[in-house]
Symmetry: C2
Subunit: 422 residues, 2 copies
């Protein structure tokens, strides 16, 4: 008999969690280290404690609930996501990954499934970055992208520090938050904790926050990596002129150059294949008077590709286009593509196949805690569809069938990984 997750219990917990910081239109506001976040953390910790899992808080306030395996000396398996939300966020973003992991471990416990490796359920602090920028700050400290000091000193709009706010809500723990010090700490405590010293795998279930699965009528996405991202500020400088007297051929009109450039930017994305993305998100002409030829046009470009070589070739094409047209192209951020672990990805794919779920391998277009965690632990992600691809919005919705299927894949993968050879 195949293991099944408990739909009512999982959905019940999702809806109970959504009451904390509930907004009028079905969404939630549970900003990191806020009073509402404390309520959400307390409820999660209570559920974990009721099941007899020990709960550990690290220096960044991330919560780790532990179910010991039969071979606690082996590297552990971890699953989870985050409980914080956007200011007007949905009920599923993050919460799904944490509560599905809880459900998975509860099913394992109820069914007395033997697992050699210890299993952790994790909730990372401040994934959203909505109250404290940047996003994914705790998993970033864990994965080595940020120092602990940097993470704790992040301030919100009122000038409050994340570290102080974690203390205030009672979630400033002592477990070392960064992977390096965590490993040393665990090694030093090996005798006390049955020999546990490192992590074998991290799996995160999340809503897709995009339209691909829904439009393909697939229930699960096996996420093999995350797109690389390059951000640009571009300015085309022309000459401000009265809209009447200047003949067209005597103008230096930056909007005309923009009109030449825009189709080329979409063309370079097309040339880089179906996985490429190009977005012009900000676009303004200055000074902005209807009877004046603008003196300059400023816009942003966001280029994404899962393959770094392809992303680089997009970058080169954009740079050349801007040069040719005389635009000033300034790259302001570069986040290389992430490739998830082959073993973790295969564990997920195996479950989809076994369960007969319509699924696909895909690349995430957005950042997740899994990106930073993957720097230090073999990692993969599971996506499920969300309605119209909408997220960071009170209207965010995921179907219970898809939630159950996603959690089922997580269940299979955790069972699989918790017993696998190193």
């Amino acid at each position: 008999m195949e293991l099944m997750v408990n739909r009512e219990r999982l959905m019940g917990r999702m809806m109970e969690m959504a009451q904390l910081g509930a907004l009028p239109n079905g969404g939630v506001k549970r900003l990191a280290a806020s009073d509402e976040d404390k309520l959400g953390r307390d409820l999660f910790v209570k559920w974990c404690a009721e099941l007899g899992f020990s709960v550990h808080i690290d220096e960044m306030g991330s919560i780790f609930a532990r179910k010991e395996g039969t071979r606690p000396d082996l590297p552990a398996v971890m699953a989870g996501s985050h409980l914080d939300s956007q200011p007007s966020g949905g009920k599923y973003d993050g919460v799904l990954g944490v509560l599905a992991a809880l459900e998975v471990v509860q099913v394992i416990k109820e069914n007395n499934i033997e697992h050699e490796r210890t299993i952790y359920i994790v909730s990372w602090t401040n994934e959203e970055g909505a109250r404290f920028a940047p996003a994914m700050v705790a998993s970033g400290v864990f994965g080595g992208a940020f120092t602990l000091e940097y993470g704790l000193s992040r301030t919100d709009a009122a000038g409050l520090k994340l570290g102080e706010e974690l203390k205030r809500i009672g979630y400033k723990g002592t477990l070392p938050a960064d992977y390096g010090r965590r490993m040393k700490y665990l090694k030093a405590k090996q005798s006390e904790n049955g020999g546990f010293s490192s992590y074998k795998a991290y799996v995160e279930l999340h809503i897709e926050q995009g339209p691909i699965l829904e439009s393909a009528r697939e229930t699960v996405g096996v996420v093999t990596g995350v797109q690389g991202i390059r951000w640009y500020d571009i300015e085309i400088v022309g000459s401000e002129t009265h809209a009447g007297p200047s003949p067209m051929n005597m103008r230096n009109d930056p909007v005309r150059k923009l009109g030449d450039l825009i189709p080329e930017i979409y063309a370079l994305a097309k040339a880089a294949g179906a996985d490429a993305r190009a977005t012009i998100g900000e676009l303004h002409a200055f000074p902005g008077s209807r009877n004046t030829v603008p003196g300059n046009v400023r816009f942003t470009v966001d280029l994404r590709h899962p393959d770094d070589k392809s992303l680089e070739s997009m970058h080169n094409m954009l740079t050349r286009l801007c040069e040719r047209i005389g635009a000033d192209c300034n790259e302001i951020w570069y986040s290389p593509p992430v490739r998830f672990d082959f073993g973790c990805v295969e564990a997920l794919a195996k479950s989809c196949k076994k369960r007969g779920f319509p699924s696909r391998k895909m690349v995430s277009g957005a950042g997740h805690d899994a990106v930073y965690v993957s720097k230090v632990i073999p990692t993969a992600m599971i996506f499920i569809p969300c309605r119209d691809g909408i997220s960071h919005n009170e209207a965010e919705h995921a179907e219970p069938d898809d939630i159950v299927n996603g959690a089922t894949v997580l269940l299979d993968a955790v069972c699989d990984l918790a017993n696998a050879e190193i």
Copy 2:
């Protein structure tokens, strides 16, 4: 011997006038009906009075200085422009046309040139529209575009009415300001004013405020008319989406449509010939976040053409393009082209030829008092080059040689028109 304008006197008066409301960088601030405008008017009136010309102020504050002809019963000739300026305007815009007209009539007087028709030098109130919108309000009342009540009730940013401000500076006259009532009034006074009852011609000398003459190294432009103008607000609505997850072919990206539309807008202007103008002056993408595909793009289009049929065909092409692309195109203003009087234009062209001035016939891209005056009086304009086409700017500059040449053409034309048969 050919008549000559007095360069030193004309330039001297230009520079003396530029002291009133002078700005630190060589420009002037002489907003309509301000204290500085009063000083400028007083100086102009003083110069006129010194020459023995009678001065008449109309209900809109416009100033008419009169040199009677030998046949005052014939319709009169009028030349002039305006003395008000932009908040940081130049020394030449408007002032040139008024003071050149004064110079012309002074040369006629000094040389005892016989002229049958009475000659008027005019300075129109509030051409700029900088303090009281709309622009060209007094010539607009004269030409029938606005009612007197509308003109007098224009308010500035402080809520002050143009009519009250004219009263305050002592320039609220009694001469009927609109052409219809003016004609009745003059007819009623025929016996008193030697039979004068109407106007034969209006000629206005102005800087080009564009680059055409300068780049062609021509000294005079004979202005045959003013471009027609059509203004549009255009919106392209798409779907706001995260820049990462959505594949390019599943997006409804309004910037992509904009990129298709912009080159077509320039192409439609090109198709309408060298006199056509198309300007995209305001352009914004919303909500304006670098990692979000914009939900909508809004921009303005300003189409101009001296020929109404061509302008209409540009309008039709723009409308079709917007329809095809699904953009919402809203026309918000339409000002038909103006064609100046053939006889007046020929008088100017004759002078250019006689004097051997490098010149061309051209169409004005900007509005001038002459536009409204031309509705009721046969009208033409003379342009002279201004450096880099720059105007409405303290850096505005015109060369004395060009100023003298422009004034010379005005002189010839006024002499010519003041003796011509009806």
